[in-house]
Symmetry: D3
């Protein structure tokens, strides 16, 4: 169930049986010479939709701009500052909590969002308590990173081994190929690809990772892999979601 395709009266009925909601969050940032700028949002959105279908959960609109300051030296990347993203998450959850939602399950497609999301959650719990929301103490947030699920990670390693890398990975590229086969890109990929350098400033990132990839070989990706990865992610995260709302 996609929230944006419901009416408010349908949401009101949904709340009679569930207080949970899934929120896909991605990023809009460079993904190397062949990866789509929307990769992280596309993956989070499609997997969240799949989990929604599998579990009957409501799925909120995708937060498609995330925390990607370190990618800003590459054209087309867009980032919120962490404090802006915290404000967005707070407004988002406060709005829904005022309707009666209580369990917020973020399906996240971007490593750079994790710290900011986890920083936002305690601030939001405190904010709802400050507002004296009747359900303030029942509100719970969780972030689930599809690419870090054990089952997904193992499949990626099996498919790509060390060439999975850590950014512009073949596994995330594969999922986007499965979703948008018409947008599969060809481009020259240096054989040698940088890896292992920690992430600091945008200028430092580009200096160390000149084409945007971090240790990955996205040329290995196929739409079929994408389908497999998608299915594993949906299955695993559906269990996680049901466990989360049943706690």
């Amino acid at each position: 169930m996609l929230l944006h395709l419901q009416t408010w009266q349908e949401v009101e009925r949904y709340l009679e049986t569930s207080r949970g909601i899934i929120i896909p969050i991605g990023s809009t940032e460079q993904h190397g010479p062949t990866g789509l700028i929307g990769t992280d949002a596309i993956c989070a959105e499609v997997i969240a939709k799949g989990v929604g279908e599998a579990t009957g959960a409501l799925v909120a609109p995708t937060l498609n701009i995330g925390m990607a300051l370190h990618h800003l030296a590459f054209p087309g990347s867009i980032s919120l500052r962490p404090t802006t993203l915290i404000a967005v998450i707070q407004d988002f959850i406060t709005s829904l909590a005022s309707s009666g939602f209580q369990q917020f399950f973020f399906i996240n497609g971007h490593g750079g969002n994790i710290a900011t999301l986890k920083a936002a959650f305690p601030q939001i719990y405190a904010h709802l308590a400050d507002l004296k929301f009747s359900n303030a103490d029942q509100v719970r947030c969780q972030v689930a990173n599809w690419f870090m699920c054990r089952e997904v990670y193992e499949l990626a390693k099996q498919l790509y081994g060390e060439e999975e890398g850590s950014h512009a990975t073949p596994s995330e590229v594969a999922v986007t190929q499965y979703v948008y086969p018409e947008a599969i890109k060809e481009a020259f990929l240096e054989k040698e690809v940088a890896s292992g350098h920690p992430i600091y400033s945008a200028a430092d990132f580009r200096r160390h990772y000149p084409d945007g990839r971090m240790g990955s070989n996205p040329a290995l990706a196929t739409p079929e892999h994408g389908k497999q990865l998608y299915e594993v992610a949906v299955k695993t995260l559906s269990s996680s979601y049901l466990k989360f709302i049943g706690e």
Copy 2:
């Protein structure tokens, strides 16, 4: 050209011939008993995509959460506070301006966003000047409200007359029916519908507009109307965009 389906190298090439970008912005809010919660984002997104196709312009990901504080008494509505939305717009444009983008054309689907967008623009111009961006003085922002284009407005009046109303209108509902025919809703609609009361707080809004509609009769909407309205909007806004970047 959808930004999220490009690589950063494709964006780099795009910037050699154009400095313009289209940004769809909607809202996630109640639209009466039969209107989709995502109506404003859906309309802005589809029309922006159409304008992108017609003009060759790049289209950024949709900002699907807007300023809808007055709708928060209806379940499923989500709003950013105006100051949060200003921060989002500032981060968004600053990111793209650092890549070289200079003309930001917002295609907006929600009346409640207009004031905040217009408040954000001067703050952003000043911010870019503070940052000493080399192109700070070239940056220009414009908001184009698809539903307020003269041609669209006239078509809506011709199709629906007074029953167009001002929220949950048959014209916006029609566009969503055209995009998502599988999500056409049926629900009881009171014959009498409130109208004319200004917008104040969320509680006041719900008190005066108990089912969420403002003077509208969305039962008149059809997918065929939606197609017509979409086409008129795309045509008109394509001209506006070309005029804007050519100034």
Copy 3:
């Protein structure tokens, strides 16, 4: 009744019969070679005072610094950033709402303030609801731009035709001449005056409008016109105020 000339006990008595207050808001910014930097505040203040006298309404002190970032390339202009102005308006209204005021009628002298005021209002309604003010749902704000009242606009057109322009207009200059006849200025005015260019950054504004005027010929202004315009504005806005508090 001017708030700053009352005691708190007089305000307490006023609140027994009315919950309304008028807030003049202007700007401190260049108004071309012959217009006063204080034009917008002077006009808003004198008209608000007139409306207060005509209706018995309390008139708050003038907010004489507004949102004028686009004028900052001209010496002597002062601006709040939009987010600062939102904070000011919020503190202002929150203070008065805690005393029991409920209807806030802004008489505005500057086009550049409109978007920020309209962005501020929903944030303030939400803030008062967050604070659990007993009268939160009764609070209503409205902005009335004296220069955009139909009657004023028509008189200006009749007096000046196309030479009214849109900034440093003869009509606003005339009102200041009526209020401060001792401060009528003489200066060289280019015959040709720029017009029609949208407002972007401060540097862009000065580039397109080198002497600060936007399509206007303030040399046409006279104190007598000012008196006429003042009287029409007071009459029209007095009706608007009474309608607003009577809603």
Copy 4:
């Protein structure tokens, strides 16, 4: 020279010979049963105007809302929060420093503003340095409290002795009587007046100072005293201003 009665070209000429400006800052708050709510702004404004005449200095528009949170339990009081006031002062000075102003002399009418002004100044110096203003290192701010000038204080003590008190004082009331003789108020004043309790919250303030006065007997005020106090203040602060800009 009042800034609001100048044109931008007159300001441009002023800057050829002086970089200094006077900024009156007051407050809008209860001043006991007979004191005007605008007392602090009225005093600061009239004295600043006098200093401007005596020294040829430019005088900015009055900041008539200050930091008066502790007075909010009395109807008609308005306050900015300290962080809002800091933002206002920062925007104000940044605007004028961009024109070339360098010495900012605040003539202050309200004790409650002092800490916030002094907190704002270092933040502003750092902000201007961050912005790389060419004159950042030359910018200097000073706050001059008219009621704390030695000469004023001595005259007040001579006129009123212990009955001067510390809020709603006869000396400030006298200055307002001199400026607005038509607004001299009569009201019952308890013989016993509280004093000596430090200032904490608004509720605590009203509990300890039920009629708003702090140890004062404003019934002693006369317009003639007001004239004397005004003249002493203008003379003293004119010297202070000239010393400040000559440093």
Copy 5:
């Protein structure tokens, strides 16, 4: 009693008999060629600990970073901006007020903190009232500057006369020598030392005070003086604290 050496259950018991707490606040900033960067925090901490022992009061952890923007042109200095420090103080007091603490007695070692602390207090009272804390109206804050206590000041004048100066003073250096005799520094001190220039920007400060001292001769300091000053400060501030919580 040092808070950081208690358990929460011990704090719970403490609250049965007292609602007061002492908060040492210092700064981390240059103190001339021989003064320690931590001087202000060291002095505040040791004196606060002494007052805690003398009065049985609980002593919070030291806020060792203060408002020292004007010292940032000297290596090793660290400063919070005033608005950051206000946020820190607000969070600090809100946390403890939620436990039941009501009287907050700041023992301050740095002149640069005073204005910001005094600006923070009213904002915090208003914040606690906004949060509807049951004890909001009982919360009281006070700042006690150890170096400005009359008894301390007189001893300093007696020991050092005019050579006390106003920054990097022999009296504060003496207290640090008493606490850290192993960290007594030797360095060349110019005989001539600047004084009398007001504090503006960091660059201006270093220009006028090239070695960081303001009119002081810290070479006069001895650990024995430090012991004397410490004892006088503890005695005086213990009385102040008891008076404060007994009000």
Copy 6:
């Protein structure tokens, strides 16, 4: 080398050979019936000091208040909100980067700080780039959690097995016993201790963890264990620091 025991001239000399600095960060929060409220700050501070001695690195003053919102239902706990902590970290690093420091190594004693620190770092890199600091691209931050070092973790498991738990652990208590043997506490500890519940709001935390411990048995702690843990942590983190600054 402790920064607070240096003069600015000593720091200037230090910067000739190193651009690195260690910043201890802890928290002030309940640690169960026998753990000190200052546990996290005490551990971070003593270990940072040890690493400073072992490596010759400068050690900044301890940030002893962290992000502990989830502990606020226990008396004596103090927390910054995440956005406040981000502002503190930004001001802290900006100050030192302006002196020439480039490598910031946080030794952290509290799990609750990690997300906020990691959220702060990219915002700070962007801020320094905005300020056009000449060394902006060289600035690097890293957080090292002493309790999560492999060697420390293994020693803790060897000493306490499953009874280590995850808050108020015997290992952190042991380190505080080693540092403050005079502050070893005795109190009743329920045999059964809750564990496994994720962290949400403060009220939820106390409901699930009524005495504050999370699965731990701090009664196993001894000062001798503390010494061992301290030594392992210092050794490991010294290597990490040297590796970090040598990158």
